[in-house]
């Protein structure tokens, strides 16, 4: 039972993908078995092409997680107190993509008195820019698409962060 738990984890939202995959294949098997076979062949082709790069990306991500601690990041970017939107955006971009890992850090910064606009910018960039995803992006989509994603997501986050900075100060007491 614990072995199954290790494989499947506790995240029910990820299980949706598993159910969708099973559902698609069972449905196509009933409706058109030939299509199922071509789907399986395409999938095996994808797995053969991507599984080693995905493993490499996960191991590189694991190493980066150990080397780039929040302390290291804050030493580079400076993150405490009232700082500008840009610094918060940079810091948020470097946080781990998983909200279970990044949100406690963001919450800690908020509790230390970070401004609302910086807090929101950090939340946006941690959800949108996600620099640590770069390895997954390179492994699956290629360098060009991944770099374009990061550059434009960061630029848009800065625009929205700055607009929120202009608007958000009045809302501080209502939100935080």
């Amino acid at each position: 039972m614990s072995y199954l738990k290790k494989i499947f984890g506790n995240d029910r939202s990820h299980m949706a993908i598993l159910f969708i995959a099973v559902f698609i294949y069972v449905a196509t098997l009933i409706i058109n078995p030939d299509v199922t076979m071509s789907c399986i062949n395409s999938s095996i082709g994808e797995i053969q092409k991507l599984i080693i790069p995905i493993f490499a990306a996960m191991f590189l991500g694991g190493l980066m997680k150990s080397l780039l601690t929040p302390k290291t990041i804050s030493r580079f970017f400076g993150s405490s107190g009232v700082r500008n939107v840009f610094t918060a955006g940079l810091f948020g971009s470097m946080l781990p993509p998983c909200p279970f890992a990044s949100y406690p850090l963001i919450s800690a910064f908020k509790d230390r008195g970070m401004t609302l606009s910086a807090f929101m910018t950090m939340l946006i960039t941690s959800t949108m820019v996600e620099v640590p995803q770069i390895f997954a992006g390179i492994a699956i989509l290629g360098l060009g698409i991944e770099l374009t994603r990061i550059v434009f997501a960061f630029a848009a986050s800065m625009i929205v962060g700055y607009l929120f900075f202009l608007y958000g100060l009045k809302q501080k007491t209502k939100l935080v």
Partner: protein, 200 residues
């Protein structure tokens, strides 16, 4: 200290030499299971030599990183394989004409909005969502549509919303959702504008 500098210099040199090998003389000649993208080959080389360097300089960090990575692999491998099977099915089942109509270059700015809307319901984990997005790209989606999906991916996913509510409150969740979707739209429009100029 001297051992660290020497190991760093040797690993740096090895990364440069091996990267040159896969980018120039070995390009296109590597086994299929290493993928067909040269930037991926460089990433694999960097991974191997960074681990070698850390194993020499800080063995405990290398051990911890391997442990963390194995835990990640073990916890998500079943979903990655499921996602790759969904991607394989998408390649065969999604009508290329329909994808081109809504996400292709000819869809114009609509592709960005459709891409963001689809991306919003995809999982936040890139190892699960990216293969599905890539499969849509291979059947005819354009760059603005694909990047729209990437910008939107995970923004409205259940675990992110659960964390919004756990660590903050429903108001912050609402504002965060609205702002991230607006940000994804702006990023998509920027990509569309740049690609319309022929730069991308």
């Amino acid at each position: 200290m001297k051992r660290g500098i020497l190991a760093g210099a040797l690993c740096g040199l090895a990364i440069l030499v091996c990267s040159w090998l896969v980018l120039v003389p070995l390009r296109g000649k590597l086994p299929f299971f290493l993928g067909d993208n040269p930037s991926v080959h460089v990433m694999i080389i960097i991974t191997v030599f960074l681990y070698a360097y850390v194993a020499i300089v800080k063995p405990q960090v290398a051990t911890k990183s391997v442990g963390d990575s194995v835990k990640t692999v073990r916890g998500s491998i079943i979903y990655i394989i499921a996602a790759l099977f969904v991607a394989g099915a998408a390649i065969n089942l999604l009508p290329a004409k329909l994808v081109a109509e809504y996400l292709g270059e000819q869809a114009g700015i609509i592709a960005v909005f459709v891409g963001v809307a689809i991306g919003c319901i995809l999982p936040a984990c890139p190892f699960i969502s990216y293969p599905i997005i890539f499969s849509v790209y291979t059947i005819g989606a354009g760059i603005p549509g694909i990047l729209g999906m990437l910008f939107g991916s995970g923004t409205s996913f259940a675990c992110v919303i659960a964390c919004d509510l756990t660590y903050f409150n429903s108001r912050i969740m609402g504002v965060r959702l609205v702002l991230t979707i607006i940000t994804a739209m702006i990023a998509g429009i920027l990509v569309y504008s740049v690609s319309a100029l022929g730069i991308l």
